[in-house]
C-alpha cells in the first residue's frame, strides 16, 4: 500500500521520509505538514524527523551515488518547486540503481527534472551575490533585506562571511522570516523578525544618491534596451535595489 508522508519541512525530515520509503510503506506523495490537504482516498502518516535515520540516508547517498548528487538533492530541497520532494525521491530511486553515473543520464526525465530545479536555485544564489544591497545602519550594522524565490540564505553564507569578514551584517529573507546574522567571525542562520530596525547611518543617504547617480550616468542612451535589462535582472528583484526608484 502506498501512503502520503508528511514531514516537518526540514532537510532531515525529508531524508527520514526517504528512509521510511525504503523500510516501511512506499511513498505516494511527500508533503510538508503545514501545506497538506487531506485526501480521502490516500492514507497519510505524519513523520517525526529521526536524526539517526536521516544520517543513514545522507551517508548512503554520498557513498552509493556521489557527493555531487547529494548537493543536487540539497539544492532541490531548498527550491520552491511544488513537487520537489517527489522529484528528489524519484532521483534517489534511480540513483541507488545506477550509482554515480546518474548525473550523466541527461536525457532521463527524472534527472532532467532535478537538474532543472538545481539550476534555478544555483542561478538565484549567483544572482543574489550581486543583487544584495546593504544599507549602513547606526551602530555600524549592514542590513540587506531579500525576497528570494528559493530558500537560499544558507547558500549565501560562505561568500558573504568571507568577503565582509570584518563587518557586522544581516541578510534578512523577509519572505521566510529568517536571516543570516554575522558578527565579526561568528555567523548563524536563525528565524528573524525585527520590531524596529536601527535608523540609517548619517552618510547612507549621500552614498545611495551617489550610487544612483552612477547607475544613471553609466547607461549609454543610444543603446537603451530595457528589455535586455529586465532579462538579466527580473523585476521581482527590484524592490530591494537601492539604484532603482
Amino acid at each position: 500500500m502506498m501512503i502520503d508522508y508528511l514531514y516537518d519541512g526540514s532537510f532531515e525530515g525529508l531524508l527520514t521520509v526517504i528512509y521510511k520509503h525504503y523500510h516501511q510503506e512506499k511513498a505516494k506523495g511527500i508533503y510538508p505538514l503545514d501545506l497538506y490537504q487531506v485526501n480521502l482516498t490516500v492514507p497519510y502518516q505524519i513523520l517525526q524527523t529521526n536524526e539517526e535515520q536521516a544520517e543513514k540516508v545522507y551517508r548512503a547517498i554520498q557513498k552509493k551515488i556521489s557527493y555531487h548528487d547529494l548537493r543536487r538533492i540539497y539544492y532541490g530541497y531548498l527550491s520552491n518547486d511544488q513537487e520537489k520532494e517527489i522529484k528528489v525521491l524519484k532521483y534517489l530511486e534511480l540513483g541507488f540503481k545506477t550509482g554515480p553515473t546518474i548525473s550523466s543520464l541527461h536525457g532521463n526525465p527524472v534527472v532532467f527534472d532535478l537538474q532543472s530545479i538545481e539550476k534555478k536555485v544555483s542561478h538565484e544564489v549567483h544572482r543574489l551575490k550581486g543583487l544584495i544591497r546593504f544599507s549602513l545602519l547606526e551602530q555600524d550594522i549592514l542590513y540587506a533585506p531579500i525576497t528570494p524565490d528559493h530558500d537560499v540564505v544558507a547558500l549565501l553564507a560562505t561568500h558573504f562571511c568571507d568577503r565582509f569578514r570584518h563587518e557586522n551584517f544581516v541578510i534578512h529573507d523577509t519572505r521566510r522570516s529568517k536571516a543570516l546574522l554575522y558578527n565579526q567571525g561568528r555567523s548563524v542562520i536563525a528565524p528573524f523578525e525585527y520590531e524596529k530596525l536601527p535608523s540609517l547611518a548619517r552618510e547612507e543617504v549621500l552614498v545611495r544618491s551617489q550610487w544612483r547617480t552612477y547607475f544613471d550616468t553609466i547607461a549609454i542612451k543610444e543603446r537603451t534596451n530595457k528589455k535586455c535589462q529586465r532579462n538579466f535582472m527580473p523585476v521581482r528583484y527590484w524592490e530591494n535595489l537601492t539604484e532603482i526608484f
Partner: protein, 474 residues
C-alpha cells in the same frame, strides 16, 4: 565625501561609459584581511538601462586630456567640463560602494593628464591606498595609458587583477588618421610587456623551476621573484603580489573606420595568439564627434554588426574555428541576418549530417544549435548509454536549428529537403518573424557582393533582446 565628489563621479563616469569591459572574472581570491574577495566566475551587481551589466565601478581618474583622438569625448579640443579625482577620494568612494555590495571592484581608466607617467603615477597611488592601506581584496581592472613607462606599468600590474590597453582602431592607417598622438608601438609594447611578465611568472611556478631545497610549490605560493624587464636588462623586482592574475584584454571600435569584419576578426585572432588576450571586446561606434574623418552624427551605432562579431569571437574562442573559415573572398563581412555558425554550416553543407553518437567533440561543436554545454552533455551520456533524439532537447540542444545538421542513431530528422537554400529559408522564417516572405525570397537569390555601408548599418531593428549577452560580467 561632499557635493563635489558627487559631481566628479557624474562627469568621470560619463567619460568612462564607452568602455565595454566590465567583467570581474579570472581571479579567485579570499579575503586578504580587510574587505573584499574575488570570484573566478565574476559577479554582476546590476544592469543599467542599456542592458549592460554593472560589475565594476567604471570610472576615469581624470578627463583632462592632452591627446586629441578624433573619436573620443574626452579629447583635448572637446568642450566638456574637466575634473580629476584625488587618489584617496576615489579609494574612499570604492570602499563605500563595495561595502554595500554595489560593486565587485574598480575599473579605472583615465584621460592623459599632463603626461602618461603623471597620470599613471596618480592611478598607482590610488591603487596602493586601496590594496595596502585598506587591504582591499576586490577586483581591480586598470586601463594602461599608452606611453606609460615600463616600471610604472609593472607596479600597476602588481596591484591589478586585469590590465587592458585599447587598440580602438583595428588598423595602423586608421590609427594614424584618427589618433595621431598614439603610435602603434605605444599600444603593442606594453601588451608585450604584460604577456611576457605573466609568462615569466607562470614559468616560475612550473614543475622543475625551483632550486633544490627551496620551498615546495603551491598555487597559493605568492612569494615570487619576478624579473619584469629581462629583455631590457633592467633589475629584477621582488614582490609579494601576483602580476595581473586575470590577464589582459583589449577593445576595438566597430564602424568608426572602414575595416571589414574579416579584418577585425583576423586582428583579434592575432591578438589572442600573440598576446594571449583573455578577451577582445568590440564596441559599436557611437558618433559623438562631428568630424569629417568619422561617420556622421546621425548614423546609428552598428549594434547588430557588433553582435555578429561577438558571435564570431565566441566561435574563435570556444568552438575551435579560425577567422579565415568564417569568410570567403566574396563575403568579407558577416551576414547580418544569420549567425556566423549557421552560415559556415551552409557553406560547408557537405560535411553534414553528423552522427550524434559517433562524432568527436570538435565535430559536435560544428553543428548549429549545439553549444559547448550540450556537446559535453552528449559526450558524458555517451559513455553510459546511447543518446536518443528525444534526449537532445533536455540536453539543451536547439532542435529547430540542429535537426537539419545531424543524425541520431542513423536517422535524419530534418525532413526531405536538405539543400542549403531550404535550410536558409527555414532559418530566416524563424528569425523572430521580422522578415517578410518576399524578403526571404530575395535573400535566396544569389547575391552580389553585399556593399554594406559601415556608416549606415541596416537591420538594426533585428537585434535580439539577448544581443548583449557577451557584454556580461562573466
Amino acid at each position: 565625501m561632499n557635493e563635489s565628489t558627487m559631481e566628479k563621479l557624474r562627469l568621470l563616469a560619463e567619460g568612462a561609459k564607452y568602455d565595454v569591459s566590465c567583467s570581474s572574472s579570472g581571479t579567485q581570491r579570499n579575503n586578504q584581511g580587510g574587505l573584499g574577495s574575488a570570484s573566478n566566475a565574476g559577479i554582476c551587481h546590476s544592469w543599467s538601462k542599456d542592458g549592460r551589466c554593472i560589475s565594476l565601478l567604471k570610472i576615469l581618474f581624470s578627463n583632462r586630456c592632452v591627446f586629441d583622438c578624433a573619436y573620443c569625448v574626452n579629447r583635448r579640443t572637446s568642450d566638456i567640463e574637466r575634473t580629476s579625482f584625488e587618489p584617496r577620494e576615489l579609494a574612499d568612494l570604492v570602499m563605500s560602494f563595495y561595502r554595500r555590495n554595489y560593486i565587485e571592484g574598480l575599473f579605472i581608466s583615465s584621460a592623459v593628464e599632463e603626461s602618461p607617467d603623471f597620470t599613471s603615477e596618480r592611478v598607482l597611488t590610488c591603487l596602493k591606498i586601496l590594496r595596502q592601506e585598506y587591504s582591499f581584496g576586490g577586483y581591480i581592472h586598470t586601463k594602461v595609458i599608452p606611453g606609460t613607462s615600463q616600471e610604472l606599468l609593472h607596479q600597476i600590474g602588481l596591484y591589478s587583477d586585469r590590465l587592458s590597453i585599447n587598440i580602438e582602431v583595428p588598423s595602423p592607417q586608421g590609427l594614424q588618421l584618427l589618433a595621431p598622438q598614439k603610435k602603434p608601438q605605444d599600444i603593442f609594447r606594453p601588451m608585450r610587456q604584460i604577456t611576457d611578465t605573466i609568462l615569466d611568472q607562470k614559468s616560475l611556478r612550473a614543475p622543475g623551476s625551483r632550486a633544490p631545497g627551496s620551498k615546495a610549490q603551491s598555487s597559493k605560493d605568492q612569494d615570487l621573484a619576478i624579473t619584469p624587464f629581462n629583455s631590457d636588462g633592467l633589475p629584477a623586482l621582488r614582490t609579494n603580489g601576483r602580476f595581473v592574475p586575470a590577464g589582459q584584454t583589449t577593445q576595438m571600435m566597430v564602424g568608426a573606420s572602414g575595416e571589414t569584419d574579416r579584418q577585425i576578426l583576423l586582428t583579434s585572432e592575432k591578438l589572442y595568439q600573440t598576446f594571449q588576450m583573455k578577451r577582445v571586446y568590440f564596441s559599436a561606434y557611437i558618433p559623438l564627434v562631428d568630424s569629417p574623418l568619422l561617420p556622421s552624427l546621425l548614423s546609428k551605432p552598428p549594434l547588430l554588426r557588433e553582435h555578429r562579431l561577438y558571435q564570431a569571437d565566441w566561435l574563435l574562442r570556444f568552438y575551435g574555428f579560425t577567422a579565415d573559415e568564417l569568410f570567403n573572398d566574396d563575403h568579407p563581412d558577416l551576414d547580418p541576418d544569420l549567425d556566423p555558425k549557421i552560415i559556415w554550416a551552409l557553406r560547408n553543407i557537405k560535411i553534414f549530417p553528423i552522427e550524434i553518437n559517433k562524432a568527436s567533440l570538435d565535430d559536435l561543436l560544428r553543428i548549429p544549435g549545439i553549444g559547448r554545454i550540450s556537446a559535453l552533455r552528449i559526450l558524458r551520456q555517451r559513455r553510459v548509454c546511447r543518446v536518443q533524439y528525444e534526449d537532445l532537447k533536455k540536453m539543451g540542444v536547439v532542435i529547430k536549428r540542429a535537426k537539419f545538421f545531424l543524425t541520431c542513431n542513423g536517422k535524419y530528422y530534418g525532413g526531405k529537403d536538405v539543400i542549403p537554400e531550404h535550410i536558409r529559408a527555414e532559418e530566416l522564417r524563424s528569425a523572430k518573424g521580422l522578415l517578410r516572405d518576399d524578403l526571404i525570397q530575395s535573400r535566396l537569390k544569389p547575391e552580389p557582393d553585399p556593399q554594406i555601408s559601415l556608416f549606415e548599418p541596416k537591420h538594426v531593428s533585428l537585434i535580439s533582446p539577448t544581443g548583449f549577452l557577451e557584454l556580461g560580467g562573466n
